[in-house]
Subunit: 386 residues, 4 copies
């Protein structure tokens, strides 16, 4: 594993726990964690249970006893590491966003395509696809239970920037973070909407906005948190991204519109990723703050008996659930990381392509890029290369 921040903790938990609950075709071992700071990475190895710590990812990639490289570093380093790892014949799991630019994502996707020819697998870490309720939503749509899709609503709302005196961390600086709410959480909304509907966005129109344009600098300089200093600096990323998109049509059907909102200023909303898909025969609505539930509306029932049905997605036959606890016992945030490990290791063993592929990740990147260009051109509709 390259990197060891918040995502490193989540991925480590996935690697540690998945083999305990699922029968994997191969047993992963948590070999090496890599980071630039020797002391910190050694501490991380101990804390998160990796056998070794290392500071040079190139050396680690070159090792024969390493089969899988899990990349959880910031987005601007993904391309270099992932391409090198794939070329070294390592299977790569890369945290989202795939990259900070479309060009990098394209190069990674090319590398993944070449690697696939040699049976080397690449996958990008949109773990919300593997929340059982989200997977069930996709299964219901794929089974035709909502009929022809007419509309999609996707939003991801948090509120941790609501305090205008919160400090100017690197996440608010474009040169480091790439973008703000758009890339950080909007990317999840885009990917999950495409996964659940099975459709891909063809064009978008939208606007990015920065609500609090200046914030106190960190006393310590660049960082993720810390003490505010008296000086102030400019926020250079978006606080909120609002856009609409036109999906492609499935088999000549109507090409539906989707609405998207990503924000860190939705006071009181903590992790409110919400996807609702309305169709001619029904609707599904997923909500991450109630991640063990799925709302399903079946419009084929008698009108007097219709209603949104709150499915508690904890039955043994629900996706992934049977491996865990009895019905009615809740799963949490990190379970998706175990499911990701299960599917990735299974795909490697069975020599199939895991999803989301780097091509899926590239597509999301292109959507984000198109939103930025739309915002820069008065919300004009910008087509997305497919």
């Amino acid at each position: 594993m390259i990197g060891y921040g918040f995502m490193g903790a989540a991925h480590s938990q996935g690697w540690r726990v998945a083999p305990r609950f699922f029968d994997l075709p191969a047993q992963p071992s948590m070999s090496v964690v890599v980071g630039r700071n020797s002391g910190a990475v050694t501490a991380a190895a101990a804390k998160w249970g990796w056998e070794e710590a290392a500071t040079d990812w190139r050396e680690v990639i070159a090792r024969d006893d390493i089969d899988i490289v899990d990349i959880v570093t910031p987005g601007d380093t993904h391309a270099e590491i992932a391409i090198a790892a794939l070329e070294a014949g390592k299977h790569v799991l890369c945290e989202k966003p795939l990259a900070n630019s479309v060009a990098e994502a394209e190069a990674m996707t090319d590398a993944a395509a070449r690697a696939a020819e040699r049976g080397v697998r690449a996958m990008v870490g949109f773990t919300y696809r593997r929340v059982p309720a989200a997977t069930l939503a996709r299964d219901l749509v794929a089974a035709g239970r909502v009929g022809e899709i007419r509309q999609v609503r996707a939003s991801y709302r948090q509120d941790w920037l609501s305090d205008a005196e919160g400090p100017l961390t690197w996440r608010l600086q474009k040169e480091r973070a790439g973008s703000g709410a758009l890339g950080d959480i909007g990317a999840h909304a885009v990917d999950l909407s495409e996964y659940i509907t099975g459709l891909r966005l063809q064009s978008v129109s939208g606007i990015l906005d920065t609500i609090v344009t200046e914030r106190p600098l960190l006393a310590e300089g660049i960082g993720l948190s810390g003490t505010a200093s008296a000086e102030r600096g400019a926020v250079t990323v978006d606080d909120v991204a609002i856009f609409s998109g036109r999906y492609g049509s499935a088999n000549g059907a109507y090409a539906p519109l989707g609405t998207f909102e990503a924000t860190r200023f939705a006071t009181g909303r903590k992790n409110a990723l919400r996807i609702e898909v309305s169709g001619s025969l029904g609707a599904v609505a997923f909500y991450l703050e109630r991640m063990n539930e799925l709302d399903f509306f079946d419009a084929t029932l008698p009108p007097t008996e219709q209603g949104f049905r709150k499915i508690l997605v904890t039955e043994p036959d629900h996706p992934y659930v049977g491996a865990w606890w009895p019905a009615g016992h809740m799963l949490g945030y990190e379970h998706g990381f175990s499911h990701q490990v299960v599917d990735f290791v299974t795909a490697i063993a069975e020599q199939t392509q895991p999803h989301p592929s780097f091509a899926d990740g590239l597509h999301v990147q292109r959507v984000l890029d198109a939103v930025e260009r739309s915002s820069a051109t008065g919300s004009s509709w910008v087509p997305i290369q497919s």
Copy 2:
């Protein structure tokens, strides 16, 4: 209409509005409102739209131009008025509770039975039966959609006595109010549970308790509200009633248990009448604070698709709804009083027995009486005469 308090307002609204939205077989006119205090009853007639005011109910009952007597006075006067009215050949709608004692209720039921032989109708005002969602719950149970009934949970919770310094109104004095939470709101829970299930309680075990035993007397003496004085008096009714009951069995099936709670000390619960019926094939859950919704669980669906379905009971084919507004437009508290008028007038015109009958009201009275006796005998199980 005899009486003109809170219930007088609700009944007046029912009589006024029902003919506007429903096609009634006969047009009621709001003739006379009766009360002891001449000034007050005259004002009430003007406010609530009655043509005349009168102070002597006996005179009014004797009038030839009066066909229907609607009794909304306190419970201790119901028996005398209702029996006299029935004997005078007037159809009688009597607000719940039917009476303050079983003996009175029995006399009223006898009078109703005699009147019925002459085509004179009597009905008791448990209007919650006519909230469309409650009626739908009953319809689903009656249609076998929950299968064999295994359990019933009924509770009616309010919090308006939470403040221990609230004054000692007549509602807290046994000689006037008869009982406390038990008769005032517990009666609704009993009746509605029996209506929805189609079963009758056979025996009960329970406890009554008074949480705040002393309160400030009203400066004005006896009354429903007013200024607290420095003196205190004893609360002589129950603040909370908790009991279990065994229902009769339908066709040799299991005779299910029901749980009941009536309280005015459920902090934060304002009008929380809740009935849940669990059966072998499904469940229904009604909740008065969300009276336009009904939760229905269909256990015959595939396990991965089961869930409580929130039916918005506002479709044209839902009970009573078609006469009102388009789908998705909410009804409120007073609509049940219009539905009551519709069903009462229709039963009179069609010469059928409206429900709930006085016999139904008597049965509720017997349940309440049995709960009091159980509480007085250490929660022993007390059978209910049927």
Copy 3:
């Protein structure tokens, strides 16, 4: 009252009921209902309780015994009637939308301004402002409880067009209906968002779309409902309207964005008008399908105690509520029409300007017009005249 459709029923109920529960400074009497079809309007007068029926609105407007004209006809007739009535010195309550075109709405607003100089009042019927929970939302925002506004989300979603074989009624024909979801329900979302925030939209960018472009013609020709024929015709209004808007800034504060969606294809959503306002100190969220509740988030509480608070808006001190029932007793759709009568009659008696004014209605019309122009120009941002 001119007109007697669905809105005629709602307005009649408002006029009938308001004086029973509220102490009005003047007692309205329900004099004349006007319609072109003599038989139908006579029946409507009987059904909805008007003393007379008439077929010529000009004659009625000329009568000395008429003080108030309530217009509930289709939108294309509003301007002519309202202007004539105002010029005849009648107070005018005009159902929304104010008109089918901006030009008409401007003429009406001019007429209202001239009338106001003579003490003649004009008001437009956005009744959702008078749902107590919506009024409370506005009061909380006005009292600074959400702080500086950062974002607004408004949507109004229904599903009654989901069936692609539903017939082509006049509501789906542009020449009669003006627009589709945009004007019919989007107008409510715009008005209510502006009422609650106290801000006005300055510019918009959006898209209109027609999901089902062809439907069966009605066998009976033009109408609101009926039997489908074998022939099909083109739907010429929008099925869905999606747009973003920039509000004006209050006192140099940030000028927030709002998102809007109006649709009749949101499967399972019946009357889902939802407004959420996020601010620096809190948030409010109103939802019409649970119209007796308001969600309020107070970000000034200790972080461990923060949460959306579900206020049951049925306390005596809540807006309008004290006149109705005790705490915990629900109000429904039509109560807003009584509140509208109360406020309109009170403004007339007190010689103040009732809201929403015709100028407010004109502003909404301009917003809708700007959305149409934006949609026609690739979602460009279109400024709104103020």
Copy 4:
């Protein structure tokens, strides 16, 4: 760890994960898992990550390198193992119920008291105390935020026995399971209600009932699941337990009543443990199916702003939460087992008494026993020894 069933999986996960997220004063190592069946326990050791497997718990308890014994066997074996382990100077974590009889639980409590004198700790595994929302509920009550307690409602409802043709497993046989819903899930409701309120039940009145009295025997004989045979046997435990209890009074305050229901026949309810505490100043309501939320009603706020506040219990300062993920990221069922490990290990290291103690577990056992005796004596009130 002695035992390796469902609870063994949950405890193993607790031991494995806790040290990764929390800074423990001592590092536990997962040494030996013990079971009678050599093959099965070896497989369990591999699956759940224990270093060794063993078949004789006495030998393991005698080992010097073992400091802690975690007992997850069926209830009828707890006493023997726990007492032996405590006498051998091992700290003991014992899964609930503490024992199958009061006598056994008394002996265990005595052993724990003797052990405590030597610094040896004993704790019983009511893990729901350590769901952050439940802990927060207790903290709010302890801080006086609900004021004087007036009522408690506790229920634990599941539906996995709803199918009358489900087989007769050992859980439905009294000689093995001790009791049915009462001991299995009712015990949790009792313990959690006492933990949150800080009060102890003094007496109870209730009824046990068996809804489906005969079920198909398992083809394989005794077991937890399997194929139904043609023969049927008698269900000898309760399917539903309904009881009321009187809590002790705190400092001369009112001694409140609590209502309890434990059932496995609540169709559609999967793991519905719900505790609501109403007090003079507020209320808290916990619901296990939404375990990341706590409803809190603060009756000291202005009446127009009161409402149940849905606290998302995922803030860094909420109990246990800071060690896990950022705000808004959900925890699941098994996190409580990590918290249990944290508190147990910390208590051992700090030489304090962890809760719930064996005395707490004994008290719960006495409550269950009193409920059985009450049910056997017509729901008479049975005092509970303290």
